[in-house]
């Protein structure tokens, strides 16, 4: 079953049409990457899902129920981690989580157990300071704890890793991967390595539309065959290769690039016949980054 579906969602700010036709769905128990460059209005789409903004068209459903602006009942299924989470600064993390639990009507025994469990998970179990003195990374951790607190069916994270140092980022990605067992995770990002690390599926938002979507494997194969890179030991061999095979491209001091794989045997023969020593022949990894560059037209 799909935990979240968006169909033909549109949003306008005054004259500016920021989302034109956003359609995708997220199956249960997946980690879904919502990719777009800065300014692609990813947060707008997320706020529409949370009923924090009114849409101008299309339909959004969470767990089969449709989202409406204002007091949306679908928020009962959702945990949300804003990009810059802000909490009541006079409270300690434990007090804040208790507040969250009380809002969602949990029993006080359950609240205590869940708080301890989650504060441990995000590494804030020994923090008895008030939130006032917290760094952005610590707030981000507390943000994860509060978002997971009510065991939501859908966890929505807005750029969760952008403020974190490499270690914190790794930890957060691990937390999100673990959360997959219990919930469905949707997170927006422009960091493609994060998507490659932990996502099962992804959708690329560009120019107000979903330009590409699918599982990570599908996305990788969506691109045309990967190119090969050759690096002869001597620069003059590079020049010889370039003059004999006009379809090779020079990509550096010694490197040449072969875009069409079917010419490879020909080149290998030539290398063997001429006794040219080669440092490496490498198949280029299709990264999502190149794919992303391709779809955004750069």
């Amino acid at each position: 079953m799909d935990m979240l579906t968006l169909s033909h969602v549109a949003k306008r700010f005054g004259e500016k049409q920021v989302l034109k036709d956003v359609t995708f769905s997220v199956p249960e128990h997946t980690v879904f990457g919502f990719v777009g460059k800065n300014g692609a209005e990813k947060p707008t789409a997320m706020k529409l899902i949370l009923g924090l903004l009114a849409g101008d068209g299309g339909e959004i459903t969470v767990n089969g129920m449709s989202v409406r602006y204002g007091n949306t009942p679908t928020n009962r299924f959702v945990g949300y981690l804003p990009d810059v989470p802000e909490f009541y600064s006079c409270m300690t993390p434990f007090e804040y989580l208790r507040f969250c639990g009380e809002i969602s009507g949990m029993s006080s025994k359950e609240i205590r157990a869940r708080s301890e469990e989650l504060l441990c998970l995000v590494g804030l179990e020994h923090e008895n300071r008030r939130i006032r003195g917290f760094s952005r990374g610590m707030k981000q951790r507390l943000g994860v704890a509060q978002a997971l607190f009510g065991r939501p069916g859908l966890l929505i994270c807005d750029e969760p890793t952008s403020a974190l140092d490499p270690a914190g980022r790794r930890e957060l990605l691990d937390i999100l991967t673990d959360a997959k067992e219990q919930t469905t995770v949707v997170f927006s990002t422009h960091i493609l390595s994060d998507v490659e690390h932990i996502c099962d599926e992804a959708a690329f938002l560009h120019d107000g539309k979903i330009v590409l979507k699918g599982t990570i494997e599908e996305l990788r194969t969506a691109r045309k065959a990967a190119a090969m890179e050759l690096e002869p030991e001597q620069p003059e061999d590079t020049r010889r290769l370039l003059s004999v095979f006009p379809y090779l491209k020079s990509t550096g001091k010694r490197n040449v690039l072969l875009e069409d794989e079917k010419h490879l045997p020909q080149i290998l023969h030539f290398l063997a016949d001429q006794n040219i020593s080669v440092l490496r022949i490498e198949r280029q990894e299709t990264s999502l980054e190149e794919l992303f560059m391709e779809v955004v037209g750069k």
Partner: protein
Amino acid sequence: MRAFLKKEWMELCRSGRLLVLLLIFLLFGIMNPALAKMTPWLMETLSDSLADTGLTVSKVTIDAMDSWVQFYKNIPAGMVIVILFCSSSFTGEYQKGTLIPVVTKGLSRRKILLAKGLSVSALWTVSYWLCFGITYGYNAYFWDNGIAEHLFFAGAMIWLYGIWVLAFLIFFSTVAAGSTQVLLGTGGVILGTYILSMFPKFADVLPAKLMDGMSLLQGVNVPGDYAGGLAAAVCMILLCLVLATVCFDRKVL
């Protein structure tokens, strides 16, 4: 909603705002009778210099009424302080985005509105009656409150006027983006009704009438004269709350 009320209470206590407000109103409460008590002594010390200018000071007699005059003079200042304190109750949360996790956890906006409304009213109620109580106590000790008529009715009218002001403050808080807009809106309404109430035609049917407590104390007015202002205030409070509910449901947080 109890959780949200608890949070408001915790913020008030821990930020020290509650303490400051209570201290201010405590001070006001003590100042009213103290100023009245000091008036004869002040006059005496000034009498020499006044005599030089040709003014002679006869014996000054002070009673509870003078202290109540001070009270009614000072209470608008207290009200302004409460308004300043409460003006960022909503807008502060909009600007920091602290309501977003709360709303996305499914707490209904109406409960948030109600909890905030209750806490600002409670703040005013406690501060105001503290000030009133202290002035009343000292007056009873030094003089006799008996010379002031309808003392508690007049006191309750001022309290209701404060609630009326806060109702507008809450309404403006649900439409404004910043506390300046809230203050401008609320101030505008107070000023507007004040100016209108200068016309005798409107004077009796506007909430500004409720502030005229001295006329009651001195027996110039009777409680019945306040029916128009009272009804207007109650109607406007209800209207503000309905409008605030509608606007807050649509507010972009």
